[in-house]
Amino acid sequence: MKSTDIPVKTRIKRICAVACFAALVFLCIFGTYKVLKWKDTMGEYLSSVDMLKATDKELIDVVFMGSSHAYNGFNPAYFWEDKGWSCFDMAISGQDATSTYYYLKYLLRRQSPKVVCVDLYGFTFDKHGVQGNEYRNYLSMPAVDLQVKMVREYVDEEDRQDYIVRFPIVHTRYKELGKYDFYNYKLNDYIRGEKISWTVGEACAPESSDGSLSPAELSESKVKWLDDMYELSQKEGFSLVLVALPYNIPAESQEKIDTVSKYCEEKGIAFYDFNRLRHEIGFDYTHDFVDSGHLNTYGAKKVEMFLKEEFECYNLPDHRGDERYYQWDEDLEYFGREEYKNSMRVTDDLCALCSMICAGEDYVSVISLEGDYLDRNNVYYEPLWILGMSYEEYEKGGKWIFEDGTLTKVFENEINADPYIKELGDMNTLKIQYEGDYLFRENIMINDESVYSYGSFMTIAIYDKKLGELVSVKGF
């Protein structure tokens, strides 16, 4: 049969079939990519790109760019609480200079910030030492044109194709898929890019930052990057601010920062080297750092205190009360919950903990009394009285749930009794059962994880309904 002999109807049918098949394949590949794609830009499924996408256009006034130094050191919630400025951390772990430039260009497609504040840690190295950081930076860019450009600029030629097509790298993630590859991580929608960490770690003051400036010659690519950033600021009309957040900076990196300092002076760019300013600001190296490289939330507060004064000159508007900025309100609320969570975690005082449970909103707390707890001279009773427990109930023992201001007994300590099951939102299930006194780890479970304090007469497990996570498990 010649091609012309094929009936027109059959031809049309076949063309439609091919088109439908192509569409189906495309959809399946797209769906597969959504599951496999690199989602993690901060190591906890928190992606500043996702947060940016979830933010309405033209709302951000101040952008902080940089690596983990930036998302630890710049806390938009502090700026919002104090000044009402809409700040955003466009930060990615290990964000290098090339990546900073292109992510800024991406942000400028949706936002017109008045100030762009860039931490210079990414400027001090040429290539990533951690493969994961390379993936985070070069596989998270949603804009194809910018991704191709940044990959061409940074990635070695033989690997470029893999980065641009992405599947050759991300397909191996089938080995590590977790639940958040299939569900959206809820927090992405409203936190503003910061990482909140209350951990206090050991840090050293950088000796290389003492004394006079010791600028070194910069490579051509570094100078070009500075020029490109400056030109971009002129073209897009934002004020460029370059900063070096404090960390134990090596001498070689400090020399580069000193050179940038001179460059900024020549160009009239605002520049702050927090290592050199550390005495003025009063960083406490035994309290304000997570580790020798990163500030904690206490340290971030000191950065905010300094910058809010410096940024006054940009006449940034106060957006508090404006409904369009609800994400900043939610961010502050989230920050508040994190602060509360931290207080509950750090306290060893049972009375204080019960008071916090009583005062907190949107928590589910499980209280368990087992074994010979009555031999402890009623040390548990007084705190539980705060939650509304009678002495009769206390004497019987068992397991209670405190939720929305009400204490409810949900389980007697009976072996072989049917477990008590409670759904905690869409993702988690609480299971309470009794396998024996205080030495059986599986008496309180969330999903398949024990939230039971092994070896304690009394366990208190606190779950935050709003954050969808376990806050604390305490044994007394």
Partner: protein, 494 residues
């Protein structure tokens, strides 16, 4: 440009799409340009070699066709063969030849001869040389007429789907199809759909099966002094699977790609591990090469027409040459020799086997008997593969030695097999893929059609589901990209 690479993913749709749309006169030129581009993507310098082979065999064909006497024909054929095999010898066997001459000389305490040339083996040289030489012999025998159109002949030698690893086509099949371009419609919806299915199946075999099992096989062969009986058997069985999935996968993509453009290439694999004897195995494994050796070596040597002793000698010589074709190394020669010996011994023992079977009351028509034959054949084939896989004859014998060392059957159950590069999850994926391979092989065995044709005959929904599942499996579970270096298809080295 590998079939399982992004450049081919771009190259093929453009070439095939334009080929189907272009005017008839341009089609062969377009395919020739695409084929040369495809070949040059490996190493542009070696285009000279394929051009040389094409010119020599094209001229030889015309001269043989025109020659008035048998002697002249023979002379032209001989010239064509000498020039082509000479080139192949120079690039593939010269180093091996010098190495062995040096070894002999060193016995007599005469100095070693260093190889002054350090060439990379031009990809596909064994394949296109055999294809072009086969054409000359066909013209000499009068089976076909000499091709006068150079473009079409050059396309026959360089047709990109089968250029670098076969199937080694016969002029009667492929050249005649090339000559039909423009005269009658060759491409069809049916061929395109079944060809697409073949390509997907080939990619699945290569990327999900072969390259996955190769991780374990490579690890075992790299550490042969650590392995015991169980690991050695698993390694050998793994390589049997790897080489089949690799080469059958390549052939399926080649046949499928040609089919999408309307060409029918010869079948290269027909469920070889379902063979009931070694002879049967060679009717099913690398069919285009085994029939080439049958037609152009075994039969001209006299085949089975000159008595039993001569027949055995012919079989043995043919398989030794076949071994050498696969690689310039004694381990390949031994591998070929083993297959020759298997057949000779099998033939010699035939009366004794039949008598024993009668004595034991074995019924040849039962499934159990057949399964026994299949298992025995696979055992022999698998044993011979050790020589094929080993980097030297010594390593092969060492490996065989490990099969009789540290016999610990418990290692099958104690998860220690998961320490050879494939963890539990990877092993599970491999087992699923093998299950699918067995199902497809049974379909092929029972129905006599390849997977592409079988799928075309199914209803559209089923076909689409299979296609989509294959695509997603390849994308997700295929071994490719960063952190994976599968190298290439095993047969590219031949």
């Amino acid at each position: 440009m590998l079939f399982n690479s992004i450049p081919f993913l771009i190259f093929f749709p453009i070439v095939a799409g334009l080929y189907l749309l272009l005017p008839k006169k341009i089609k062969p030129i377009w395919l020739l340009v695409a084929s040369y581009y495809f070949y040059m993507s490996w190493n542009y310098k070696y285009v000279v070699l394929i051009l040389f082979t094409t010119l020599v065999t094209y001229a030889a064909g015309i001269l043989i066709g025109k020659a008035g006497s048998a002697a002249k024909k023979k002379a032209f054929l001989a010239a064509g063969l000498v020039l082509n095999f000479g080139l192949l010898f120079f690039f593939k066997y010269f180093g091996f030849f010098l190495e062995n001459v040096s070894r002999i000389l060193s016995v007599f305490k005469i100095g070693v001869i260093d190889n002054p040339f350090d060439f990379l083996l031009p990809v596909g040289i064994s394949f296109y040389t055999f294809q072009a030489v086969g054409y000359c012999i066909d013209v000499y025998r009068g089976d076909i007429k000499a091709e006068r159109n150079f473009i079409r002949y050059a396309l026959f030698v360089s047709f990109f789907p089968q250029l670098v690893a076969g199937p080694i086509e016969r002029s009667k099949n492929l050249l005649s199809q090339i000559n039909e371009i423009g005269e009658k419609k060759t491409a069809s919806y049916e061929k395109a759909v079944s060809g697409f299915g073949m390509m997907l199946w080939g990619l699945f075999l290569k990327m999900v099966v072969a390259d996955r099992v190769s991780i374990m096989v490579d690890e075992i062969f790299k550490n042969i002094y650590r392995i015991g009986t169980v690991e050695a058997v698993f390694g050998a069985a793994g390589f049997s699977l790897q080489i089949y999935a690799d080469f059958a996968g390549y052939s399926a993509i080649a046949i499928g790609a040609a089919s999408v453009m309307g060409f029918e290439l010869m079948e290269n694999f027909n469920t070889p591990y379902f063979a009931t004897s070694i002879a049967d195995f060679w009717h099913r494994w690398h069919i285009s090469l085994s029939t080439w050796f049958r037609d152009y070596v075994y039969i001209p040597l006299g085949g089975n027409r000159k008595g039993k002793a001569r027949k055995y000698l012919n079989i043995f010589v043919t398989f030794l040459v076949s071994g050498l074709w696969h690689g310039a190394s004694w381990s390949f020669v031994i591998w070929g020799g083993l297959h020759g010996l298997y057949q000779i011994i099998g033939d010699l023992l035939k009366p004794a086997r039949e008598k024993t079977g009668k004595f034991l009351g074995l019924n040849k028509d039962t499934a159990g008997y057949k399964v026994g034959q299949i298992l025995l054949t696979d055992l022999l084939v698998g044993f011979a593969w050790i020589f094929f896989r080993a980097s030297s004859v010594k390593q092969a014998f060492d490996y065989i030695g490990r099969m009789f060392t540290r016999f610990n059957p418990w290692s099958i159950f104690d998860e220690s097999l998961l320490n050879w590069g494939l963890d539990y999850r990877e092993m599970l994926i491999l087992l699923f893929a093998i299950l699918l391979l067995v199902i497809v092989s049974i379909i092929r065995y029972k129905k006599g059609v390849n997977i592409g044709t079988f799928l075309y005959e199914q209803d559209m929904i089923f076909r689409w589901v299979v296609f989509v599942l294959l695509i997603i499996s390849i994308i997700v579970f295929g071994e490719y990209g960063t952190d994976f270096d599968s190298g290439k298809f095993i047969y590219f080295d031949f």
